[in-house]
Symmetry: C2
Subunit: 261 residues, 2 copies
């Protein structure tokens, strides 16, 4: 079974740039997209839903902003939207969390807030991190397999960012964010790609559009597939796909393969 997570930075722009070719080529069973930035009814007429997949959209209230969408070839049930939160928006108005169940596997499709615009958004992100950690316990502790996938907007270690020194004060690589990530691992979420590759520099999943960051591979790893112990048991391999999806989004897709039983 193959799972893909990808921040599309606008599914309409991604579609123009060849998303369909990627979907065909990658041949995944479950695809979790973030930053879809559209309602289904806003899709152009030359677009059609990927054949053979069921789709569940969870857009933000605000048009053109955020939103996630999950796609499955395996029969899928919607479990919940949003996290239990102290921020008074349990409706998840920013379209950040969609949980679906595929057989006994739970998939959390998550787009964590970005804190880089203003302090107010960093405060929002920080509160979100606390709420999300507690909320995620029921999944990580489950005897059934669960995956936490998406754009977490945090690079965990110095290996997960090209320029660690220069970004000590940048949202996404702040000490408190990295410590939060340690706690996420402590409660049982396993970073499949990192465990698979070991403590090497990179690979990255996002590159700034400024300068020639992508060309020079000066990126961040902020897109993850995390697994609870039950899901880890069947894990085979994981990778970040740099070629192919190259010009579709400023993020690269992350793929993981699991044994079918």
């Amino acid at each position: 079974m193959r799972v893909v997570t990808w921040n599309l930075n606008g599914i309409r722009a991604a579609h123009r740039k060849g998303l369909d070719d990627f979907i065909e080529k990658i041949d995944a069973d479950i695809m979790l997209f973030q930053e879809v930035r559209a309602l289904p009814e806003q899709m152009p007429k030359d677009w059609s839903e990927p054949e053979g997949y069921e789709l569940i959209w969870h857009p933000a209230d605000k048009k053109g902003y955020s939103g996630v969408m999950s796609c499955s070839r395996i029969e899928m049930d919607e479990i919940e939207r949003g996290i239990d939160t102290n921020l008074d928006d349990s409706r998840d108005p920013e379209g950040r969390v969609l949980v679906t169940k595929h057989g006994n596997l739970s998939c959390i499709n998550m787009y964590l807030p970005n804190g880089s615009s203003r302090q107010e958004r960093q405060d929002y992100k920080d509160q979100w991190l606390e709420d999300m950690l507690d909320w995620s316990r029921k999944f990580v502790e489950s005897k059934e397999p669960a995956l936490l996938c998406g754009d977490l907007n945090i690079a965990h270690t110095e290996n997960d960012i090209w320029n660690p020194k220069g970004n000590k004060r940048t949202s996404g690589f702040l000490d408190n964010e990295r410590q939060w990530f340690d706690r996420l691992i402590d409660i049982g979420w396993e970073d499949l790609l990192r465990n698979h590759l070991g403590p090497i520099k990179g690979p990255y999943s996002w590159w700034s559009n400024r300068g020639r960051a992508r060309e020079l591979d000066r990126g961040w790893r902020i897109d993850y597939i995390l697994a609870n112990p039950a899901a880890s048991e069947t894990f085979i391999s994981a990778e970040i796909i740099r070629e192919g999806g190259l010009t579709v989004s400023d993020h690269a897709p992350v793929v993981a393969d699991f044994a079918d039983e």
Copy 2:
């Protein structure tokens, strides 16, 4: 002496699409641009002022909106901005009128309000028409030559619009607007291109971006070079340039040639 008037629909977009080539090719002495939609300091660094010309910018207060700019190879003095108006904006905050003098020739660079968005703007346009007519008398009555050039946002006669029947209720071809244009001619402004070509269908200077209006030449003539009697004496010829400037703006440039003495 050659004069050009052209609504650029954004000088930055026009520059990307080859404005410089046009300027080089047309070899005009005076160029009057409307809907510049930029401050000089917003121009990209790969832009440089047309060589051999002096420039006067008259932008709107509101960024990215309206604004005219006059360009002259002949020494030029600024005479006034805006029209004497009953609307309490004699500062011309929408950047619609710039009068310059080149030797004894006065050039009015005008971008008349568009009334198509809401009734409020049509009312504004109607008031503007009244004020402008009175204001223009001093130029039309002068013994010195004067030109009134620009996007007047009105098609005068049925020859000046591809679909007169279908646009009887469209701003820019309303009865009161066309009657106002009659009065403009009555007070002495001469429509050089129309007088030159006679009462034929067309040519047009603007085409909607919808459908294939330009390709099918379903346009409007709303850009004019009008002359007072003194300027008309030296008039040689006029035309609307369809080729060349084709993809630079949704308007085509209007050119007129005058004898040097």
